[in-house]
């Protein structure tokens, strides 16, 4: 076997790229779940973000407009979920699943004219001197801006949830919506805001897939990344830092799978594609085996509809 094609530095760079869409979607979903809403439509919001981002980028010939377009697209489609679940009190699980199916269909329709087009290239950050350093330069200083943005976003979310008053109110809605309401907080509005933030993050993650990772538009191109992001929020037990850990771990598995294929190890591709999902399931089982720990961190009102009774 020829292991020389397995360059660790190159693999880590690839890993970070593979992990970033998961990370973006997961950190958004974490905020949504912290507010007490379970939005299973991450996959749908991502694919919408992928197509709207792609359209915006090619229309304005600007990758930055593409990212913006993806975030706006994701946020807009999440608003339908927010309106249905928060104001019409529809079931969150069913509505989330519907959102995924709706997103996949709508994205295919919107993107039909964009098959086979290449989007404008996302520039990489080049720091004079630093980026040319051996190993360190490649590992730390030569990524595209979205990767730095995604890490900054995790930091910002952590600060928001644990240090700011607004974040405390958001967590309070997720812990006990009745109590939050009786203290005079507008639970529905806060949750609606969280859902939109989650939609924007998922959309951004989707745009990253269609503009940087692949880069082109094909139907169903997010290929289940949204589901992994959902699993990672649980895996991270609703802690922002662990979301990074989870996303990078799953990114690593994806890359390892590709590398093994490149090495020509004769495992059927189907098994390799399965691995991230199997690991997700195994991790979830291990996590929830200790019921005390898992339930301690889960927002107590997760997935429950709130309706002010007076």
């Amino acid at each position: 076997m020829d292991f020389s094609s397995l360059n660790p530095v190159a693999m880590i760079v690839l890993l970070i790229g593979a992990a970033t869409p998961i990370l973006l979607a997961a950190i958004g979903e974490l905020v949504v779940e912290k507010s007490g809403v379970l939005n299973l439509g991450v996959e749908g919001m991502m694919i919408i973000g992928a197509v709207t981002g792609f359209i915006a980028a090619t229309t304005f010939d600007s990758p930055m407009m593409g990212l913006l377009g993806g975030a706006v697209g994701g946020a807009l489609v999440s608003m339908t979920f927010g309106f249905l679940t928060q104001y019409l009190l529809s079931n969150q699980v069913a509505t989330g699943l519907a959102l995924t199916l709706f997103g996949l269909g709508l994205a295919a329709l919107m993107g039909s004219a964009y098959n086979g087009i290449r989007p404008p290239r996302m520039p990489r950050l080049e720091v004079e001197g630093l980026s040319d350093l051996p190993i360190v330069g490649k590992l730390l200083f030569s990524h595209d801006p979205v990767i730095y943005l995604s890490l900054a976003l995790v930091l910002a979310v952590w600060w928001f949830l644990n240090r700011s008053r607004a974040g405390l109110v958001l967590r309070a809605c997720g812990e006990n919506h009745e109590a939050a309401h009786s203290l005079g907080y507008n639970v529905q509005l806060i949750r609606f805001g969280a859902i939109m933030f989650g939609g924007a993050c998922a959309g951004l993650g989707g745009a990253y897939v269609s503009l940087v990772r692949v880069p082109q538009w094909t139907e169903g191109m997010t290929a289940g990344v949204g589901w992994i992001a959902l699993a990672i929020v649980v895996f991270a037990s609703w802690k922002p830092w662990r979301v990074i850990l989870g996303a990078y771990m799953f990114g690593g598995i994806t890359i390892l799978q590709l590398s093994l294929q490149a090495l020509g190890i004769s495992i059927s591709g189907a098994y390799l594609s399965m691995t991230p999902y199997i690991v997700t399931i195994v991790v979830l089982v291990i996590m929830s085996a200790d019921r005390k720990r898992a339930s301690l961190n889960a927002p107590a009102c997760l997935g429950r509809s709130f309706h002010a009774s007076h």
Partner: protein, 503 residues
């Protein structure tokens, strides 16, 4: 002292009920004013209007000479009106300081707030550690958090909704001295309760509500518990005599029962042993959260334990599920009426089927026999005076007291050999509560063994033959309830299980 709040002709209707009808009364600065009434008399609606949670249909409120129309609780708090809820509005996974911040409109930074919590809580004799998680605290301590949260905003009027229903006698004393101190500092307190002795001990004035109307006002000092009760109920109070207790053979034996709690904030049961005899009513007291829910789960079969830990007629049943236990005569009625004891969206007849299926043979050959099921449900409604338009009505449409009568009646009519009830009269008005207690006593007189888990000590003293306390998952040795004093029980509830046992 001047007038603080003047309420004039407040009315509020909900579809089908007039919750408040032309209510007027006056609260003076610094007085402790009782609002007395049975469940459903309209107390909660009234205070929700004062606190800005509910908008009145008509009527006026004048606070210190100015028109007062709070649209939201935040406006009420700004005007100096605070409220401590019966069901606390606290967040279990957050700390004391975080909880208090959430309830304040202009919260200072963390350090300052922690300092303030320490000083204010110690000033009023309710010490609190700002960094503790609410989930780790007892109910009494949680109530402190609510009170301190209110006090930090310098209220002029503090509304307290049934504050003692979850406290030990000692905690009640602490609370009362805090309230008296507040009153001496000029804070008026609107004290809602249906416990008459508390109102006699604490309050300067009382306004009595019945069916949404003010029916009387009085000065509690000049009244007796009996006269207050009659004003509240609007009729003569019937007092039932205790039936004679002649213990029979052992009906249920518990030996070394231990069970780890599934709830991260729950209490695990530790080595509980007792023998329950036929005809005996065992009262189990203790502050909520000391293992009551876990004990009920272990007895009902929702949580399985080692086979030998529970025995009925000398046969181990620890590994059996609820249905198998039911067929052996062990029935339970949990505390949570909606969602645990009854399925909210299902009709009374369906709910009757759910627990009565086995003992009443309601589904021979796996097919629901609706005629028999309906007859059983109608029987419960009739014998237990459940006020409902019919047995087709969803359980959640019934008022708390009526649903409770239904739930208890459903189990009693199955003629259990052992019945376990948790909080049988929680939130139930006096007449319905008396009815439920009487029914349980009659069941015991017919030879069944009954375990009553409750936080209402008066109730336990009134109806139980033997008494034990559940404290941090341990059960004290059951002893005859006659002759026990409230002080002894209070010590047992505080965890001193041995100290009181050899009195």
């Amino acid at each position: 002292m001047g007038t603080l709040l003047e309420i004039g002709g407040l009315s509020k209707s909900y579809p089908g009920v007039k919750a408040n009808d032309d209510i007027s009364f006056v609260i003076q600065e610094g007085e402790i004013h009782a609002l007395l009434g049975e469940n459903g008399a309209g107390k909660s609606t009234l205070v929700k209007m004062i606190y800005g949670l509910v908008k009145p249909d008509s009527g006026t409120m004048v606070l210190r000479g100015e028109a007062y129309t709070p649209a939201k609780p935040i406006v009420a708090r700004k005007s100096g009106v605070s409220m401590v809820f019966q069901h606390f509005s606290l967040f279990e996974a957050l700390t004391v300081a975080e909880n208090i911040t959430l309830g304040m409109d202009d919260a200072p930074n963390r350090k300052e707030l922690s300092q303030k919590i320490r000083t204010v809580s110690e000033d009023y004799g309710l010490p609190l550690d700002p960094d503790r998680l609410i989930g780790d605290m007892s109910v009494g301590e949680r109530q402190r958090v609510e009170i301190i949260r209110c006090l930090l905003q310098n209220p002029r009027l503090l509304i307290m909704d049934e504050p003692t229903s979850v406290l030990t006698p000692q905690e009640v004393d602490t609370l009362f001295s805090t309230l008296r101190k507040l009153s001496a500092d000029g804070v008026a307190i609107l004290y809602i309760s249906h416990k008459l002795d508390e109102i006699l001990a604490l309050c300067d004035h009382a306004t009595i509500l019945r069916m949404g109307k003010v029916v009387d006002t009085c000065t509690p000092k000049d009244e007796t518990a009996k006269s207050l009760a009659e004003m509240m109920i609007g009729g003569e109070l019937e007092i039932h005599a205790q039936t004679e207790f002649t213990p029979g053979e052992v009906a249920l034996s518990i030996s070394g029962l231990s069970l780890a709690s599934k709830d991260p904030f729950g209490t695990s049961l530790k080595d509980i042993s007792l023998n329950l005899r036929k005809g005996e009513i065992l009262g189990i007291g203790g502050v909520a959260g000391n293992g009551q829910d876990e004990l009920l789960a272990a007895l009902s079969g929702e949580a399985k334990v080692e086979a030998g830990m529970l025995k009925i007629a000398d046969k181990p049943i620890g590994q059996l599920g609820p249905n198998e236990r039911r067929s052996r005569g062990l029935l339970t009625a949990p505390e949570e009426r909606l969602g645990h004891a009854a399925a909210p969206m299902m009709s009374l007849s369906q709910n009757a089927f759910l627990t009565g299926r086995i003992r009443k043979h309601l589904s021979p050959g796996g097919v629901v026999n609706s005629r028999k099921t309906n007859a059983f449900a109608r029987d419960i409604v009739k014998q237990f005076d459940v006020r409902t338009p019919g047995i087709h009505v969803a359980a959640k449409a019934l008022s708390g007291g009526n649903l409770q009568k239904f739930v208890i009646g459903r189990e009693i009519l199955q003629e259990p050999s052992v019945l376990v009830v948790n909080q049988p009269t929680w939130g139930v008005d006096a007449a319905a509560a008396a009815f439920i207690r009487q029914a349980l006593r009659q069941l015991a007189a017919r030879g069944a063994a009954v375990i009553v888990i409750s936080q209402d000590l008066d109730e336990l003293m009134e109806m139980s033959d033997t008494f034990a306390v559940l404290s941090e998952g341990r059960l004290s040795k059951p002893q005859p309830s006659e002759g026990l004093t409230i002080e002894e029980i209070g010590l047992m509830m505080g965890g001193d299980l041995e100290g009181a046992a050899h009195v």
